[in-house]
Amino acid sequence: MRDIMAESVIIEFPSDYKYLNMIDMVCGEFINDMDFDHEAANEVSISIIEACTNALEHGNKCCPEESVRVCLTKHPDRLVIEVFDHGEGFDFKYYLKHIPDPSDIHKLRGRGIFIMKHMMDSLYFDMVPERGIKVTLEKMIRKQSGEVA
């Protein structure tokens, strides 16, 4: 698993919305020397905010004593974002097969996972024993031609 060329930053913060911009800033700074274009960087920023919002709202029930942990890893060909909460999890296998229509104008919520799935190259969930949900997001570095690095 551990890649010699990989470089990681880990950040852990209380379950409060006010820390979301800190995370976004850290992630923006972290990917600054990766070859993402403006659009890709934007998609990463939107997705990390969605993942952290879910962790603090659904996982940690907005309880400020429960922290959210984010691990950012830079590989030569991709960025990996892992977000951990302390919650009880949910039936993500079922959910991923039944993602609701995000264009439904009668719904306030339920678009976060859809958005992450579409903006990142991969999204998966794990239930980490004695901890909670871990969401893993990956974004590949694409070369000019649109090819993956």
Partner: protein, 114 residues
């Protein structure tokens, strides 16, 4: 999030400031919209230039405002949408729902003749 309200030619312009992220923001905006409807004001423009942080729930807040206003014979149009909001609208296809403007005069004028 804070919302300042102004009126121009019978059109309400709501100027959003700060985070648009769900939680209490959803209730706050719903109340604002309901009060407008009670006052018979149903033509609304949301100026989003001051929104520095948004997530999918923030976009959801806008769409429920839109739905409520439409149900009451009104409309919600968006003004000065950032790249981030635009990307979220696009990927969720909600861009097909919202009329977006870059210029306040044009947004306000677009209600004429309705």
């Amino acid at each position: 999030m804070r919302i300042q309200t102004k009126e121009r030619n019978g059109v309400i312009v709501l100027v959003f400031q700060g985070k648009l992220m769900g939680g209490p923001d959803a209730d706050y905006f719903r109340d604002v919209v309901h009060k407008l409807i009670e006052q018979g004001k149903r033509r609304v423009v949301a100026d989003l230039s001051g929104v520095n942080w948004i997530n999918s729930t923030g976009v959801g807040i806008l769409i429920t405002g839109y739905t409520t206003l439409r149900k009451n014979g009104g409309d919600l149009k968006l003004l000065r949408v950032s790249t981030k909001i635009r990307s979220i609208l696009y990927v969720t296809k909600l861009n097909l729902i919202f009329e977006c403007f870059e210029n306040e005069d044009e947004a306000v004028a677009s209600f004429e003749g309705d």
